[in-house]
């Protein structure tokens, strides 16, 4: 197995907005005092260390900037880094607060070898604003030690012991007890540990000592990194495509793959809500290694027959720029299967259930492209309605006419609503300037493409003002005019500029 470890010495401060060369530290309450949790390399160079109290740190380096540690946010950012590294490996873990490890045994070839994948990883970290060092080696502990204490790079298979030999013993991050015990017998470098016999180390220093000894000799220490697949892997299936050049070739493997996924989900009593279809491409210069599409399912289901047409339809628009090496399906959102009952407004002629259609449209057009409309209590024409999810969870029957309220304010508000003038059916996103001739303050002719046209009929003005507290305060006098058979909604500003804002189509 070949693993790559990325060491991010300043990650915990970089995510707070500090560069590696800034003098800064994270603090949190520990043992009744505010203590340093992490420091930047620059702060470390000035003598600051984790577990120092904030007071001591300020006394030592008065200009140090100390920020409170946000544990949950940091964990979330770390997971985001893990996700970002998914393009490098399908097995990425974050066992250290400032480091990542990933299995690159089978993925390095996609990047032109181990040096290539390491280069891409460092490039990725730099693009995310993190200083990083990386090592590819046979074992995670060895790679971690070399990335923190060594210079980084690729350690050829079987040469781990040689690379580690000169590092101090604490590069392998032993527990305090083992480190002190080894120091007591004069073992202070990894090379010195490797020179001991395995049986004597195991006898004197227990299981931990034996594991460290194995690493020091260039072997592996299984168990230091938990490679067990997370729960999400249960929801992922894959198949090698051997260089498929068309999405039509993917159609042949879909039924089998979906049925495999369905079986796995069935064991957990889950159904698919959203599926991710990832096509891993053969390494080609200038082409991203993975093309992924998301397939939303209107009604949660794990039926391969229901899922297959949705996936096929989604693949139709995909252009492959390189042959497909591997196809991966992952249920990224799941729910308990609950069945589905048609709504009262559903048509019997429907050839596709409404939830499926909406999911498909939202996949192609984006979530914002589909909505219902709800009236809003606002004078401003642009905000007099708002988009709402569709279909609404409950269709409310038209309310019966209510008796007039007793409260005079409420009564007044109701009258205001009743007296509100109609609004145009087409509203321009941006009002269009117009040339208008005015007589006694009222529009009498409007310049159109056919020249000046008489206003045949007009109603107005209706004065509308935006909210007085808004930054773009405006006051407009609106007129409804009919010109050349077209009913327009115009307004004039206090400066006398006329605009077309809508059409009573």
């Amino acid at each position: 197995m070949r693993v790559m470890v990325l060491s991010l010495p300043a990650f915990r401060l970089e995510r707070c907005g500090y560069e590696a060369d800034a003098v800064a530290g994270l603090i949190a309450e520990e043992k009744s005092a505010m203590r340093l949790q992490a420091v930047t390399p620059a702060a470390q160079a000035l003598g600051l260390r984790p577990f120092q109290t904030a007071t001591a740190a300020r006394a030592l380096v008065p200009e140090v900037e100390l920020v409170p540690w946000e544990e949950a946010e940091e964990a979330r950012d770390r997971q985001a880094l893990v996700r970002a590294c998914a393009e490098l490996s399908d097995r990425v873990r974050a066992p250290w607060p400032d480091g990542l490890v990933m299995d690159v045994t089978s993925t390095a070839r996609h990047f032109g070898g181990e040096a290539g994948v390491l280069g891409r990883a460092l490039e990725l970290m730099a693009s995310l604003g993190h200083q990083a060092r990386g090592v590819v080696a046979d074992d995670a502990t060895a790679a971690r030690a070399l990335s923190v204490w060594g210079g980084g790079g690729v350690v050829p298979p079987g040469e781990g012991a040689q690379a580690l030999a000169t590092l101090p013993l604490h590069a392998l991050e032993p527990s305090d007890g083992v480190r002190e015990a080894l120091r007591a017998v004069g073992v202070v470098t990894v090379g010195a540990l490797a020179a001991l016999t395995a049986s004597s180390v195991a006898t004197r220093f227990g299981e931990e000592g034996a594991l460290l000894h194995a690493v020091a000799r260039g072997g592996c220490a299984p168990g230091l990194v938990d490679w067990a697949e997370p729960e999400s892997a249960e929801r992922r299936v894959r198949v090698a495509m051997g260089g498929a050049t068309s999405t039509l070739q993917l159609h042949f493997v879909l039924p089998g793959l979906l049925s495999q996924l369905s079986q796995r989900l069935g064991r957990r009593g889950e159904a698919v809500v959203r599926l991710r279809v990832a096509m891993h491409l053969e390494p080609t210069k200038g082409v991203p290694p993975v093309v992924a599409v998301s397939v939303r399912v209107g009604r949660p289901t794990r039926s391969p027959r229901a899922l297959e047409p949705l996936v096929r339809m989604r693949l139709e628009g995909v252009q492959l720029q390189a042959p497909v090496d591997e196809l991966v399906l992952e249920a990224v959102e799941v729910a308990a299967e609950q069945g589905w009952q048609p709504g009262l407004t559903d048509r019997t002629e429907a050839t596709e259930p409404l939830p499926d259609l909406l999911a498909r449209l939202a996949d192609h057009l984006g979530d914002d492209a589909l909505f219902g409309a709800s009236l809003a209590d606002a004078w401003r024409p642009e905000t007099s309605w708002r988009p709402v999810p569709w279909p609404p969870t409950r269709l409310v029957a038209r309310a019966a006419r209510q008796r007039l309220p007793d409260d005079p304010v409420e009564l007044q508000q109701q009258h205001e609503r009743i007296d509100e003038l109609p609004r145009p059916s087409l509203l321009m996103a941006k009002p269009t300037p117009l040339e208008v001739r005015v007589h006694d303050g009222a529009p009498c002719s409007v310049r159109t493409e056919r020249g000046w046209q008489q206003v045949q009929r007009r109603v107005g003005p209706e004065r509308l003002r935006s909210e007085w507290w808004s930054d773009d305060y405006w006051s407009r006098d609106y007129w409804v005019v009919r010109v050349d058979g077209i009913v327009q909604w115009l307004f004039v500003t206090p400066e006398g500029h006329w605009f077309l804002h809508g059409l009573f189509d």
């Binding site: 068309s246 999405t247 039509l248 139709e316 009262l344 407004t345 559903d346 048509r347 002629e349 429907a350 050839t351 596709e352 259930p353 409404l354 259609l357 498909r360 449209l361 192609h364 057009l365 984006g366 914002d368 492209a369 589909l370 909505f371 219902g372 409309a373 709800s374 009236l375 024409p381 007099s384 309605w385 988009p387 569709w390 279909p391 609404p392 269709l395 409310v396 038209r398 003038l421 109609p422 609004r423 145009p424 059916s425 087409l426 509203l427 321009m428 996103a429 009929r457 109603v459 409804v480 050349d484 058979g485 077209i486 009913v487 327009q488 909604w489 809508g502 059409l503 009573f504 189509d505």
Partner: protein, 215 residues
């Protein structure tokens, strides 16, 4: 030709050889007296093109049809690529907004509204699918005809498309084409020949409902 298009062409060929089921075209009462009188009802399945300058009353006519459909508790989809539909006006026209789906695809150079309209028609989930298409001169109308695809989709879903436009678009082969002007509506094409003896004259548009009338 893409693989999907080749497959679709082959399927169409097979259908033609096998002799697919005959599509029954009928006129269904629209719930709007003026339209029923003029056309004998809305073609179902079918495509109705409503041509006229914006502001001449196209939305008033179509809004009345949509209001009648929602009052029968039928869902309606409104595809709005020009992004200027103002739903409060539809509410004033009597449309129940809870039954109206607005589709506003972002323009990405591929005219996604064409695809969305086809899918909405094909699904059969909506009795009416309204589209206000871009003007004939504007970018956004496809070069190749889409009418045949939409017609097949409407047949599949037994739906009716109401297409609002400025002038007749040659890319669109409508079953019924209405021309709207200040004098009212006139039938300029009726594939089914149901036009009830109006002799090419204009008939007035449905009157404004009180709540929606600008006058």
């Amino acid at each position: 030709m893409s693989a999907a298009a080749t497959l679709e062409a082959l399927r169409a060929r097979i259908r033609a050889l096998e002799g697919g089921p005959r599509v029954v075209r009928r006129r269904a009462p629209s719930g709007v007296d003026e339209v029923d009188e003029l056309l004998g009802g809305l073609p179902k399945p079918g495509i109705v093109e409503v041509c006229g300058a914006a502001g001449v009353g196209r939305v008033r006519l179509v809004g009345a049809l949509v209001a009648a459909a929602t009052q029968r508790r039928r869902a309606v989809a409104w595809v709005d690529p020009l992004r200027r539909l103002h739903p409060p006006a539809l509410h004033d026209l009597g449309v129940e907004l809870g039954l109206l789906l607005v589709v506003r695809p972002a323009e990405d150079g591929t005219s996604p509204w064409l695809w969305a309209t086809e899918q909405l028609l094909r699904s059969g989930c909506f009795e009416l699918v309204v589209v206000e298409r871009p003007p004939v001169e504007a970018k956004g109308l496809p070069r190749r005809p889409v009418g045949a695809r939409w017609a097949r989709a409407a047949e599949h879903g037994q739906s009716t498309a109401l297409v609002l436009g400025d002038r007749p678009a040659r890319q669109l082969t409508a079953d019924v084409r209405l021309s709207l002007g200040p004098e009212g509506a006139m039938v300029v094409r009726d594939r089914g020949g149901h036009t009830a003896g109006h002799g090419g004259g204009h008939v007035p548009l449905p009157p404004w409902p009180l709540a929606a009338s600008p006058w």
